[in-house]
C-alpha cells in the first residue's frame, strides 16, 4: 500500500518506527525519555501508547548500559532501536557499539547477527554549544561491521529508518537535529537502500556530494550560483556508494564535497581520495571539500552561522572553481584566520 503525505522530519521517524513495529514484533525502542515523554525531540510520539511498555521503554541516564543491552537483545532475536539524545552522549557508550556490536559477526565465524539501530541527533545551528552540536560521523565511520546513514529530508528519514531496522547488522542513524521540524512529502512505499546515494539533481558541470543538513544548503547554493550541478545526497556514509559518485564525476569532471564537519578527518576526504585515485587523468579541476574550520562549534549565534558552510559561501566556491579551474580558498583563509 502506498500513501504519500506531507510530514515533518521527526514525524517521518515516528512513522517509520511505528510501521516497523507493526510489521515485526521483535522491534523495540528504548532510550532516555522516549516512552512517557515521547522523546526529547518528539521522535516517538504515540509509540508507548500503541506498543506498550514492554516494547517502548524509558531508560536511566545510562547510555553504556542501554546500548550494550541493545547488543545483547539483538543477538538473542530482538531488533532494538536505541536513542542517543545528542550524538556526543555516544562517547560514554562507544565501546558497546564499535568494539562489541561491530565485531560480533566477525568473532562468531559468521554465526551471530546484531540487528540493532542506534539513532542519534547531531549537528550545529541551534545554539547548543560545543558539547551538543558536533556531527561526529568520524567516530563511527572507520569501524568495519557498522553501517552509518544520515537522512537529509523527511523521505530519507522514513525510508532509511525502515532500512536500518530491517538490516541484520548494527546501523547508526545520524539525525540532523536542525531538520526535525522541516516538512517534506513522504511516500511510505519508497525504499532507499543502505549503501545507495540519492541523485537529487541531474547536472553536467560539477558533481556536488553532500550529507545531512548540508544537502539543503548545497541545493540552494547551486540555485544561487546558477550552475548546472549534479547534486548527490550520499545518504549512507558507510558503506558509501562509490559507483554513483564515480559515474557522476566521470560525466562532470569536477567534484565538490560539502560537509558539516571539521576540515581534518572528515568523511569527505575519503570521497575526494577515491575520486582522485580513480579518475585523476579525466578531471577538469582538483576535487575539493567545503567544510567547517578545525574549531569546536561556537555558541555565539554570529559565529555559529559562519562556522557551518553557508549557501553564499558554497555558491562562491562553486562559481569560482568552475570559472577558474582552481580550488577556491576557504572563508577563513580569505579572512586571514587560522
Amino acid at each position: 500500500m502506498s500513501t504519500s503525505s506531507v510530514m515533518r522530519f521527526r514525524q517521518a521517524i515516528v512513522a517509520a518506527l511505528a510501521d516497523e513495529m507493526r510489521a515485526d514484533s521483535s522491534v523495540m525502542l528504548f532510550g532516555e525519555d522516549v516512552a512517557e515523554a515521547e522523546g526529547p525531540f518528539k521522535t516517538s510520539e504515540g509509540l508507548l501508547k500503541e506498543f506498550g511498555p514492554l516494547r517502548v521503554r524509558d531508560t536511566p541516564i545510562s547510555e553504556m548500559a542501554f546500548t550494550g543491552a541493545a547488543v545483547g537483545a539483538a543477538i538473542m532475536g530482538m531488533k532494538p532501536v536505541v536513542e542517543i539524545m545528542f550524538m556526543e552522549f555516544l562517547g560514554v557508550a562507544l565501546d558497546q557499539l564499535v568494539t562489541e556490536a561491530a565485531k560480533m559477526r566477525y568473532l562468531s565465524n559468521g554465526v551471530i547477527s546484531v540487528p540493532m539501530v542506534v539513532r542519534a541527533s547531531c549537528g550545529s545551528g541551534l545554539g547548543f554549544g560545543s558539547q551538543h552540536s558536533q556531527t561526529l560521523e568520524n567516530w563511527v565511520a572507520a569501524t568495519p561491521g557498522l553501517k552509518v546513514v544520515c537522512p537529509s529530508d523527511a523521505q530519507a528519514a522514513y525510508s532509511l529508518m525502515r532500512a536500518a531496522i530491517q538490516d541484520s547488522d548494527p546501523v547508526m542513524v545520524l539525525e540532523p537535529r536542525i531538520l526535525y521540524a522541516e516538512r517534506g512529502t513522504v511516500d511510505t512505499s519508497h525504499r532507499i537502500e543502505i549503501g545507495k546515494a540519492r541523485v537529487l539533481r541531474v547536472g553536467s558541470e560539477v558533481t556536488v556530494v553532500s550529507l545531512g543538513q548540508m544537502v539543503n544548503v548545497s541545493r540552494a547554493a547551486i540555485e544561487l550560483a546558477g550552475v548546472d550541478a549534479e547534486l548527490i545526497d550520499l545518504a549512507t556514509v558507510v558503506p558509501w556508494d562509490r559507483e554513483t559518485v564515480l559515474e557522476s564525476v566521470k560525466k562532470t569532471g569536477r567534484l565538490i564535497v560539502v560537509e558539516e564537519a571539521p576540515q581534518s578527518g572528515g568523511w569527505g576526504s575519503e570521497i575526494v581520495a577515491s575520486v582522485t585515485s580513480n579518475l585523476f587523468g579525466t578531471l577538469k579541476g582538483a576535487p575539493f571539500r567545503i567544510t567547517t574550520p578545525d574549531v569546536p562549534v561556537p555558541y555565539s549565534g554570529v559565529l555559529e552561522a559562519k562556522f557551518v558552510p553557508t549557501v553564499e559561501d558554497v555558491a562562491r566556491q562553486l562559481k569560482e572553481s568552475i570559472a577558474s579551474g582552481t580550488t577556491p580558498k576557504s572563508w577563513w583563509e580569505l579572512e586571514g584566520l587560522k
Binding site: E32, P60, I61, V92, G127, G129, V295, P298, S300, K306
Partner: protein, 333 residues
C-alpha cells in the same frame, strides 16, 4: 583583590551576604526566559530556581583555590562562587563580556581564579575530573579540595561509579555532591533508580556519606564543612546527597507537566529563600523593610546587568579560532 574575589569573600564571611546572593541568583534566573523571548539567548538553559541554597552554601565553605566541577545547571554555582552577573549573563547571551567570550554559552561557565572549571554538559562528565583534580592536590602535597556537583540522574552513569571507586581506593580529597532534585530531565527518580536515598550508593565504596537539606543554606554549609574538613585533613572523599527540588522545568522547552499535582507547591513551602529569610528575621539580622529593600535593589541591579550585556559586543570571527591549542611558541604552563 578583584571584585569577583570580594564577591566570594562576602559569601564566605557574612550570612546576610549569603542571603543576598541567593536573591541575586533568583532574580538572575527569572530574567532568563524573558531574554529567550526577545531572541537575546539561543539554544537552551537549565535554571537552578529552588536550588540557590546549595550553590551558596557550597561557595561559603570552599576557598577560591579549591576546585569545583559543576554542570550545565550552573548559573547559580557560578554566581555563588563569585563570578559577576555580567560575566555569566554575557556568556549566556554569547557576548564578549561573558566569562568565555561568548563561545561557551549557558552550559559552559568557567573562572579559574574562583576555582570553577568549565561546567560540563555531559551527565557525569565532571565526576572523574574532580577526582583527578583531587589527585593533583594529593600528589603535590597541597591541602586543596575538589568538588563535583551533579544530579540524581548522574548517579546512574558509569562515570559516577568509577569515579567514586577510584576516589575511595586512592583516598582522594574530593567531595561528591549529588544534587537530588528528584528528576532527571522528564523522568522522576522512582522510574529510573531503585533507591531514593542516593547517598547510600557510597556504601559499596566504603565512603562516608550522608544527606543534607538542600533547601537550607545553613544545613548545606554544615554538611559541606564536615566533608571539607575530612578531605583537607587527609580523610578522603565523601558523598553528600542534597535533597532539593527544581522549581522550573528541566530546560527552556520544558513546562514540567509531568509533575504530580501539589509536588511543586509542597516544595515551594520550603523555598530556600523563605527558609533563610525566616531564620534571619527570627534572629533579628534582617527586618521586613530591609528584605523588601534588598529585593528591589537586586532587581534594579539585574536590570542593569541585562542592559550592560545587551550593550556588549558580539565575538569577532577571530575568536572562533582562539584557545584551541596552546599558541605556537608559548611555554606550557
Amino acid at each position: 583583590m578583584s571584585i569577583q574575589l570580594k564577591r566570594r569573600e562576602a559569601v564566605q564571611n557574612d550570612e546576610v551576604a549569603r542571603y543576598e546572593r541567593m536573591i541575586e541568583i533568583r532574580e538572575f534566573e527569572e530574567q532568563i526566559n524573558g531574554l529567550f523571548a526577545t531572541g537575546a539567548i539561543r539554544g537552551t538553559t537549565h535554571l537552578c530556581l529552588g536550588q540557590e541554597a546549595l550553590a551558596v552554601g557550597l561557595a561559603a565553605e570552599l576557598r577560591p583555590s579549591d576546585i569545583v566541577m559543576a554542570t550545565y545547571r550552573g548559573h547559580g554555582i557560578a554566581l555563588a562562587l563569585g563570578l559577576s552577573p555580567e560575566s555569566v549573563l554575557g556568556e549566556i547571551m554569547g557576548k564578549t563580556i561573558g566569562c568565555c567570550g561568548g563561545v561557551g554559552g549557558s552550559m559552559h561557565l568557567c573562572d579559574m581564579d574562583l576555582g570553577l572549571l568549565p561546567t560540563s554538559a555531559i551527565v557525569g562528565g565532571g565526576i572523574p575530573i574532580a577526582a583527578g583534580a583531587a589527585l593533583a592536590f594529593q600528589t603535590q602535597g597541597k591541602d586543596g579540595v575538589a568538588v563535583s556537583v551533579f544530579g540524581d540522574g548522574a548517579s546512574n552513569i558509569g562515570a559516577f561509579h568509577e569515579g567514586l571507586n577510584l576516589a575511595a581506593i586512592w583516598n582522594l580529597p574530593v567531595i561528591f555532591i549529588c544534587d537530588n532534585n528528584i528528576y532527571g530531565e522528564y523522568s522522576r527518580i522512582n522510574t529510573t533508580t531503585p533507591l531514593l536515598d542516593l547517598h547510600e550508593r557510597a556504601e559499596s565504596y566504603k565512603m562516608p556519606h550522608f544527606a543534607i537539606d538542600g533547601m537550607d543554606v545553613k544545613a548545606v554549609q554544615k554538611g559541606v564543612a564536615e566533608a571539607v574538613n575530612r578531605a583537607r585533613s587527609g580523610g578522603g572523599p565523601t558523598l553528600i546527597e542534597a535533597k532539593t527540588y527544581r522549581f522550573a522545568g528541566h530546560s527552556r522547552a520544558d513546562q514540567a507537566l509531568y509533575r504530580p499535582e501539589g509536588e511543586l507547591e509542597m516544595w515551594q513551602k520550603r523555598d530556600p529563600i523563605k527558609v533563610t529569610e525566616e531564620d534571619l528575621l527570627s534572629r533579628g539580622l534582617l527586618t521586613a523593610d530591609r528584605i523588601a529593600q534588598i529585593k528591589s535593589d537586586m532587581s534594579t541591579t539585574i536590570e542593569g546587568v541585562v542592559a550592560t550585556c545587551q550593550a556588549s559586543g558580539e565575538p569577532t570571527l577571530a575568536s572562533m579560532f582562539q584557545n584551541i591549542w596552546t599558541p605556537k611558541g608559548a611555554i606550557n604552563k
